[in-house]
C-alpha cells in the first residue's frame, strides 16, 4: 500500500482553501475512493456528489489537477507525484467543498421540447434502420455530467449563461434535430435563446467529454450549418423561393412555457 496526498478544496461560497489529506491507496483506486476514505476516516463533513461509481451517471464531476473529470473514472495511480488536487467545477455557483449548483443546466434543458413525432407516426412502432439512428445514439450517450459546460469558455470565462445553453444542450438539440421522426423545426430556438452562434468551435468541450461524444464536429458544426442554411444562404433562399429546393415542412417550434417545470433546489440561498 502506498500513501498519496489528496489536496481537496474545502469551503463554501464565502471562503475556503486547499486542505491536504493523506490517503492509503489500493490497486485500481480512483479519486472518488480516496474522497470516500477521507469521509469515513478523517472528515465526514467533506461534501461531494456521486452515485454509480462506474462513470454512468455523471454525478461526480470535479476538477482534478485543474482538469474537468469524473472522480470515479480518474485513477490515482496516473499521478506520479503522489499529490492530487481536487476542486469543484468552476463554471457554476459554488455551494460547498466539491459541490456546485448545476440547476441552471436543468432549467435550460427544460426549455427544449421533447421529441414530437410527426402525426403519421404517432402511436405506431417506428421503422428505422440502425444506420439512421447511429448518429442520434452517439448524442444520447450523454450522462449529463456537465463537464463540457464547465470547460466551455463562453460559460466559464465570459459567464454568458444568458446567451448560450452550452455544449450539453447543443448535443441534446442535435439528437432531436437529427431524429428521423421529429416534427419540430428547432433551428429558431437554436439560433435564438439557445445561442448556437456563441460557440466559436474551440473544441474544449469535446476533449473533456467522458462519453467521447464528438460534440463539436458531430453536433455543433452541423447545427451551425443548418441554421446558416436557413437564415443566411441567399442562393438557398432564392432556390427555395422559386421552388427548386423544398421548404422545410417541419412545424415551427412551439416553445415550452417558462415555468411549466420548476427546478427547485432551495432558493433563495441563505446569505452568509
Amino acid at each position: 500500500m502506498e500513501k498519496i496526498t489528496l489536496r481537496v478544496f474545502r469551503g463554501d461560497n464565502v471562503s475556503g482553501g486547499l486542505v491536504d489529506y493523506p490517503v492509503e491507496t489500493f490497486p485500481g483506486m480512483v479519486v472518488l475512493d480516496a474522497i470516500h476514505q477521507i469521509q469515513a476516516e478523517q472528515d465526514s463533513t467533506l461534501a461531494c456528489r456521486w452515485n454509480c461509481k462506474a462513470a454512468k451517471c455523471g454525478s461526480c464531476s470535479a476538477e482534478v489537477d485543474g482538469k474537468p473529470a469524473l472522480m470515479c473514472k480518474t485513477r490515482v495511480d496516473q499521478y506520479p507525484t503522489g499529490t492530487i488536487a481536487v476542486g469543484p467545477m468552476r463554471a457554476f455557483p459554488h455551494i460547498k467543498d466539491l459541490i456546485t449548483d448545476v440547476s441552471w443546466n436543468y432549467r435550460m434543458s427544460a426549455k427544449i421540447p421533447p421529441l414530437t413525432p410527426r402525426p403519421e407516426n404517432e402511436g405506431k412502432p417506428f421503422k428505422l434502420q440502425q444506420a439512421d439512428v447511429d448518429r442520434v445514439q452517439e448524442f444520447r450517450k450523454c450522462i449529463e455530467c456537465f463537464l463540457c459546460q464547465d470547460v466551455c469558455h463562453v460559460l466559464r470565462e465570459h459567464d454568458r449563461k444568458d446567451a448560450f445553453f452550452g455544449p450539453r444542450q447543443m448535443v441534446r438539440i442535435a439528437a432531436l434535430e437529427m431524429h428521423p421522426m421529429d416534427s419540430l423545426n428547432r433551428r429558431e430556438q437554436l439560433k435564438g435563446e439557445a445561442g448556437v452562434g456563441m460557440c466559436n468551435i474551440t473544441k474544449c468541450c469535446t476533449e473533456v467529454c467522458p462519453e467521447h461524444i464528438h460534440i463539436t464536429d458531430n453536433a455543433i458544426i452541423p447545427l451551425k450549418e443548418r441554421v446558416a442554411d436557413d437564415y443566411y444562404d441567399p442562393i438557398r433562399g432564392l432556390l427555395t423561393k422559386i421552388g427548386i429546393i423544398k421548404r422545410d415542412t417541419k412545424a415551427p417550434l412551439s416553445s415550452v412555457p417558462n415555468d411549466l417545470t420548476k427546478i427547485i433546489v432551495h432558493e433563495p440561498r441563505p446569505v452568509k
Binding site: D12, S44, L115, I263, V265
Partner: protein, 605 residues
C-alpha cells in the same frame, strides 16, 4: 421551532427513477398538479445504471428461416412466474406481461432511440430465464436511455422537481398519508410536502451489504417510511445477488458486469478452465432438458437459436450466482476468489459495438481489455424483490393515500427477478401508480399536517449533531455490512442468521447514540446517520424473514433447508409489519391462480 417551507400538490411523487418519472407523466395526464422529490440530481437514480435492457414480448426477432421467434405475453408471463419460484402475485405478473410491450413502444414515441433489427424494429437480446430474445436495448446503456427519455418527457408535461431533498417521514392524518417531511441536503433546512396522494418510488436497498451494485441512495428510506406509516412489507428475504459483479481491482468490487455479456455469448470458467455451468448438478429440475448440454451446442446457439438450446450460463440469476459461489468455495476460483467471464471470442468489433460501456469500464478502471482478456467476477448485491405490498391494479398499499411502484414494491418478481424485468416493471407500474394516485387525489381533500409528527422526526434528525462523544455512523455501517455480507448473503443458515440478528440489534442500540461533526449544510456524515437507522431496521426485517422461511427457493438458499418445499412454503408469502415498536412476521397464503393462467403455464413452461 424553526420555520420550514410547505409545498402543496395533488400528487407527491417520492423518487425520480423510472417509476417516479413515469408516475409523473400519468398523474399530469390525469390533470393533477405534481411535485417530485429525489435525493440526488435529476436523472441520477439507479435507473440510469441499468445496462442490459428492458424486457417486453414485442416478438421482433426472427430465426434464420425468417420466422418470428413466437414470443407473446403468455411466454413472458410463464418465464416470470417460473423465474420467481411461483411466489409472484399472478395478477401483477399478468398485467405486467400484457402491458410491457405497449409501454416500451410508448418510450420510443417519447424519444428513446433503441438499437434496431435489420427489418427496422427494436432489437432484442437474450437474457437469463427469458425463453426468447426479449430485452429491448440500447447497447449496454438501456437505463440511461430510459431515464433520460422519461426525464425529458416529464419536464415537458410540467412538474415541480425538488432535487437533493431527502424525505424521512410520511405524515399522516388519522389512517391516511397526507404528506411527507424531510430536509434539503444542500442547506439542511426542513421542508414539508402536503398532498392528497403520495406515490412511493424510492427504489431498492443494497447498501447494507459490502459488495453491492447500489449507490449511496440504496438505503431503504422509502421502504422504512412506508413501514413506519403502517404498510405491509412482503418477501423481504428475497434479495438478488447478481452473479457477475466485478471482483478485481478492489476499488471496483461489486460494480456490475451486465448479464448482457452472457447474452452476447460470454462464458464462465473456473480455474481449471472448465465451463462449470455445464455441470448438470447446477441445473434445477424445473429447467432440465431446456439448456444446451455441451459447449458445442451452446456455441451453435449463438448463430442458430432455433435448432439449439441456449447455454446454461443463461440460467436464472439465483442459479448462476449459487454455482459461482460453490465453485469458489470448492477451491476452483481465481486468486481473488472469483471466476472468469470471457467474451473475447466474439471479436473486438462486436464487443465494442454491443458492450461499449463494459469495454470502457474494464479498460479504464480495471486495466483489462475485455476484447482479449477475461474478467474476474463474483456475485454482488443487486436488487430487492421484496418490498411494500402493492395492489396490482392501482398500486395502492395497505395505507390509504399511499401508492408504491418500482423496486420498492413487491409482488411482481417473487423469489427471483429475471434480468430486464425491472425496467419494464417501473414503466408499467409507474404509470399505474401515477394514475391510481391521481384518481384517489381527485376524490380526496387535503389532510391536516400534524406538527407533533414533524417534531419527533426533527428530534431524530438533530440528535447526532447535538450528541457529543457518540458513535461514528460510518463505523456502524461498516460493521453492518460485514455481518450482512457474511451471514445474510447467498448461503444462509439458522445459526448465521441468528448471529446477524443479534449483531443488528446491538448496532441498533449503538445507533441511538451517534454523533457527527459539522453543521447541517451539505454534511455527508449527518446524512449517513439518518440513512443508517433506516438500514438497520431494514436489515432486521430481512434477517427475520430469512429465518422464518425454512426452505430454499429463488434467492433464498438455506444450507440447513436445502430443498424447495412446494407444499408449504410454495404457497405462502411472508408479510412484515410494525406492531408498536416490534417487527411482526406473518404468513399469507398466495392468491390462487385462475384456471386459464394455469393452462398458460402448463403450455409454455
Amino acid at each position: 421551532m424553526e420555520n420550514y417551507e410547505t409545498y402543496e400538490y395533488d400528487v407527491l411523487i417520492i423518487g425520480a427513477g423510472g417509476a417516479g418519472l413515469r408516475a409523473v407523466i400519468a398523474a399530469r395526464e390525469a390533470g393533477c398538479s405534481v411535485g417530485v422529490v429525489c435525493k440526488s440530481l435529476l436523472g441520477k437514480a439507479h435507473t440510469v445504471m441499468a445496462e442490459g435492457g428492458v424486457a417486453a414480448a414485442l416478438n421482433n426477432m426472427t430465426s434464420p428461416d425468417g420466422q418470428k421467434e413466437g414470443d407473446s405475453w403468455k411466454v413472458h408471463f410463464t418465464d416470470t412466474m417460473k423465474g420467481g419460484g411461483f411466489l409472484n402475485n399472478w395478477r401483477t405478473v399478468e398485467i405486467f406481461a400484457k402491458e410491457a410491450p405497449e409501454r416500451v413502444l410508448e418510450l420510443e414515441q417519447y424519444g428513446a432511440v433503441f438499437d434496431r433489427t435489420p427489418l427496422g424494429d427494436i432489437a432484442q437480446r437474450p437474457f437469463g430465464g427469458h425463453k426468447y430474445r426479449r430485452l429491448n436495448h440500447v447497447g449496454d446503456r438501456t437505463g440511461l436511455e430510459l431515464i433520460r427519455t422519461l426525464q425529458d418527457k416529464a419536464v415537458g408535461v410540467g412538474m415541480n422537481v425538488h432535487m437533493e431533498v431527502t424525505l424521512c417521514r410520511l405524515l399522516k392524518d388519522g389512517d391516511r398519508v397526507v404528506g411527507a417531511f424531510g430536509y434539503y441536503r444542500e442547506t439542511g433546512k426542513f421542508v414539508v410536502f402536503r398532498a392528497k396522494a403520495v406515490v412511493l418510488a424510492t427504489g431498492g436497498w443494497g447498501r447494507m451489504y459490502k459488495f453491492t451494485s447500489n449507490s449511496w441512495e440504496g438505503t431503504g428510506d422509502g421502504l422504512q417510511m412506508a413501514y413506519e406509516a403502517g404498510a405491509d412489507l412482503m418477501d423481504m428475504e428475497m434479495i438478488q445477488f447478481h452473479p457477475t459483479g466485478m471482483a478485481w481491482p478492489p476499488g471496483m468490487r461489486g460494480i456490475l458486469v451486465t448479464e448482457g455479456v452472457r447474452g452476447e455469448g460470454g462464458i464462465l470458467l473456473n480455474n481449471k478452465n472448465e465451463r462449470f455451468m455445464f455441470n448438470p448438478e447446477y441445473t434445477p429440475a424445473l429447467y432440465k432438458g431446456q439448456f444446451a448440454e455441451t459447449p458445442e451446442e451452446g456455441d451453435r446457439w449463438l448463430t442458430d437459436k432455433k435448432n439449439n438450446r441456449r447455454p446454461p450460463e443463461l440460467l436464472t440469476r439465483d442459479v448462476v450466482a449459487r454455482a459461482i459461489y460453490r465453485e469458489v468455495e470448492a477451491g476452483r476460483g481465481t486468486e481473488h476468489k472469483a471466476v472468469e467471464l470471457t467474451v473475447s471470442h466474439r471479436g473486438e468489433d462486436y464487443i465494442k459495438r454491443k458492450l461499449p460501456s463494459m469495454y470502457e469500464q474494464f479498460h479504464a478502471l480495471g486495466d483489462v481489455d475485455i476484447t482479449k482478456q477475461p474478467m474476474e467476477v463474483y456475485p454482488t448485491i443487486h436488487y430487492t424483490m421484496g418490498g411494500v405490498w402493492a395492489e396490482p391494479e392501482t398500486c395502492s398499499t395497505t395505507v390509504p393515500g399511499l401508492f408504491a411502484a418500482g423496486e420498492v414494491a413487491a409482488g411482481l418478481h417473487g423469489a427471483n427477478r429475471l434480468g430486464g424485468n425491472s425496467l419494464s416493471d417501473i414503466i408499467v407500474f409507474g404509470r399505474r401508480a401515477g394514475a391510481g394516485a391521481a384518481a384517489y387525489a381527485k376524490q380526496a381533500t387535503a389532510g391536516a399536517i400534524d406538527p407533533a409528527q414533524i417534531e419527533s422526526e426533527i428530534e431524530i434528525l438533530m440528535s447526532p449533531l447535538e450528541t457529543k462523544g457518540g458513535e461514528n455512523p460510518y463505523k456502524i455501517h461498516q460493521e453492518l455490512q460485514e455481518i450482512m455480507q457474511t451471514n445474510a448473503m447467498i448461503a444462509r443458515t439458522e445459526k448465521g442468521l441468528q448471529e446477524a440478528l443479534a449483531k443488528i440489534l446491538e448496532l441498533q442500540g449503538r445507533a441511538k447514540h451517534m454523533s457527527v461533526p459539522g453543521d447541517r449544510e451539505f454534511n455527508p456524515g449527518w446524512h449517513a446517520a439518518r440513512d443508517l437507522r433506516f438500514m438497520l431496521r431494514t436489515s432486521e426485517v430481512i434477517v427475520l424473514c430469512a429465518i422464518e422461511r425454512k426452505e430454499s427457493r429463488g434467492a433464498q438458499w438455506r444450507l440447513d433447508y436445502a430443498e424447495k418445499d412446494d407444499a408449504f412454503w410454495g404457497k405462502r408469502n411472508l408479510i412484515a409489519s410494525l406492531q408498536g415498536d416490534a417487527v411482526r412476521i406473518t404468513q399469507r397464503p398466495l392468491p390462487e391462480m385462475p384456471e386459464e393462467l394455469k393452462q398458460v403455464v402448463e403450455e409454455y413452461k
